[in-house]
């Protein structure tokens, strides 16, 4: 039997991790939709830019993208688990489906989605308790990194500076980053939690060009310094020449060896 769950909560509370866990434990078909959320007063909803979907699809290759219009029109498979993620700072006024933000319903109806259940982080016991924060005023900063490749050691330094406040008071940082060996990492940090997550994606890009897959940085916080951050990014990303220097030996190692002549 199909099930559609709406999961809401503030940034960094662990929605995506919980969703991934549910998806991996479900035997049947799965679908995912991330809603943009609504800019409550003083709080800017950072557009996710597709980071969560890209990461979940990498981990669950048969995941259906419920935002895809074709999916809206197609008949849903039986036993579909549909998970809808909604960034929401404030806890709902009412519990259960009655607490679903009214603005969400027409959006979901257009996609032929109707939640059977609504769970909110911090309110519902079915969800893990996270130390969610009280946000009063929040800025957001986003950078499209498509086609960019990082010097790995520079990425470590940059991320350290970012989460330790060098570019403003960062509450949440999330990114998909490309490395020169074709790997990509989902980088995730929340001020309320200890340590960052650096989770490798399954897919590896070929070492002959700049990767075309989604790559993005999203930062939420206060007194953010986009100029300084841009300056550092420019120093961390590899030029064509340097990238070629790093990819050429990888291509050589991957090239099939010449067959030995027949005796």
């Amino acid at each position: 039997m199909s099930q559609t769950l709406l999961i809401s909560g503030p940034p960094g509370c662990g929605k995506t991790s919980w969703i991934l866990n549910r998806l991996q434990n479900h035997r049947g078909p799965c679908g995912y939709l991330r809603l943009a959320g609504y800019p409550d007063e003083g709080l800017v909803q950072a557009p996710d830019g597709g980071i969560d979907l890209a990461y979940l699809q990498d981990q669950c290759p048969r995941l259906l993208d419920l935002a895809d219009p074709d999916q809206a029109l197609a008949s849903r498979p039986a036993n579909l688990l549909a998970l809808i993620e909604l960034p929401q700072f404030q806890p709902p006024a009412d519990s259960g489906l009655a607490g679903v933000d009214r603005r969400v319903i027409p959006q979901l109806e257009a996609m032929h989605l109707s939640p059977d259940e609504h769970l909110h982080f911090g309110r519902d016991d079915l969800l893990p308790r996270q130390d969610t924060l009280d946000f009063n005023s929040l800025q957001a900063l986003e950078r499209n990194l498509a086609g960019s490749v990082w010097d790995p050691a520079s990425l470590s330094s940059f991320w350290f500076e970012l989460v330790n406040g060098a570019y403003g008071d960062v509450y949440r940082a999330k990114a998909l980053m490309n490395l020169p060996d074709g790997q990509a990492f989902f980088c995730n940090w929340m001020v309320s939690q200890e340590g960052s997550q650096f989770l490798p994606l399954q897919s590896i890009a070929p070492p002959d060009c700049r990767p075309e897959r989604l790559s993005r940085l999203v930062v939420q916080g206060k007194d953010l310094d986009p100029t300084a951050l841009e300056h550092t990014l420019a120093d961390c990303l590899l030029s064509d020449a340097v990238l070629e220097l790093q990819q050429a030996p990888l291509r050589q190692r991957q090239a099939p060896s010449r067959p030995s002549p027949a005796k």
Binding site: D151, S154, N164, T232, D235, C236
Partner: protein, 276 residues
């Protein structure tokens, strides 16, 4: 005045407020003899002020790796930076410093000797072999002793690592068996050498500390007792941070200094010596 005591400072890195505070600390103890182990400039916002003060105080100084790089118009080899980010920041700092430094101060840096010697005390920036060689506190003990012995010193003062320490190497001996190929049929000869006690004293850094907080560090050597004191001196870090921003250097330098981090990470492989 403290009898028979001298102070050793190092790695000033154009940090005027830190240098002033350290010299005040030294003066307040009545120590008249100061030796500087180089790196007067590099990354920090006040290269001329720092060099001027060292010249004004007539502090004997040996040339550091940054001092050499500015004079020679070179950048340290890429292998001393572990990341592209650190390398870019280093190059920017180098270029800025070279543009800011006056001709007289450049000539002063160019005139600095590689080493300074006083009796059996030797003063160097990195090691007796090179301004770029790190003498880390846990490097191979025999190699450390070799550095001091080959230089003909009993106590070696060094900097470059930005983390102060005092290292004593004692009770050393090496046994060897030697077979001389020219002596036909001769058996091998056993030898033993007993190694003298030697010390390496790292003066830390005045201007860019890397020991976990923002205090400047330097050392005092009491020659009568042979005791060594590692001194930590707090100073007005914000004054230097403001100077960094006002000078047009990247604000990230101010953030790193304020949090007690080095301006740009150095490579972990301390055994590497720049082949330049």
């Amino acid at each position: 005045m403290i009898a028979m005591a001298h102070a050793v400072i190092s790695c000033l890195h154009a940090n005027f407020a830190a240098l002033e505070a350290v010299l005040a600390d030294i003066d307040q103890q009545g120590i008249a003899t100061i030796t500087c182990l180089g790196d007067l400039v590099g990354y920090g916002p006040q290269p001329n002020e720092v060099v001027d003060l060292v010249r004004q105080r007539s502090i004997p100084t040996c040339q550091g790796c940054w001092d050499e790089d500015i004079i020679e118009g070179l950048n340290a080899c890429e292998c001393s930076y572990p990341s592209q980010l650190a390398e870019r920041r280093g190059h920017l700092a180098h270029q800025w410093t070279a543009e800011q430094l006056g001709e007289e101060n450049k000539a002063f840096l160019a005139s600095l000797p590689m080493t300074l010697r006083r009796d059996r005390l030797l003063f160097v920036h990195g090691s007796p072999n090179s301004q770029h060689e790190y003498l880390l506190p846990d490097m191979d003990a025999f190699a450390a002793l070799e550095r001091v012995e080959t230089a003909g010193a009993e106590t070696l003062f060094c900097g470059h690592t930005h983390r102060p320490y005092v290292r004593e190497l004692r009770d050393g001996s090496i046994r060897a068996r030697v077979q001389d190929g020219a002596a036909s049929g001769a058996p091998s000869v056993e030898r033993q050498i007993n190694l003298p006690m030697r010390r390496i004293i790292n003066a830390g850094s005045v201007g860019e500390p890397r020991h976990g907080n923002t205090n400047a560090t330097y050392v005092i050597h009491h020659e009568d007792t042979d005791a060594v004191e590692i001194r930590e001196v707090p100073y007005d870090v914000e004054r230097t941070c403001r100077a960094i921003v006002e000078s047009g250097l990247p604000p990230i330098f101010a953030w790193r200094l304020r949090h007690g981090f080095e301006y740009a990470e150095r490579a972990d492989d301390a055994s590497h010596v720049c082949e330049r």
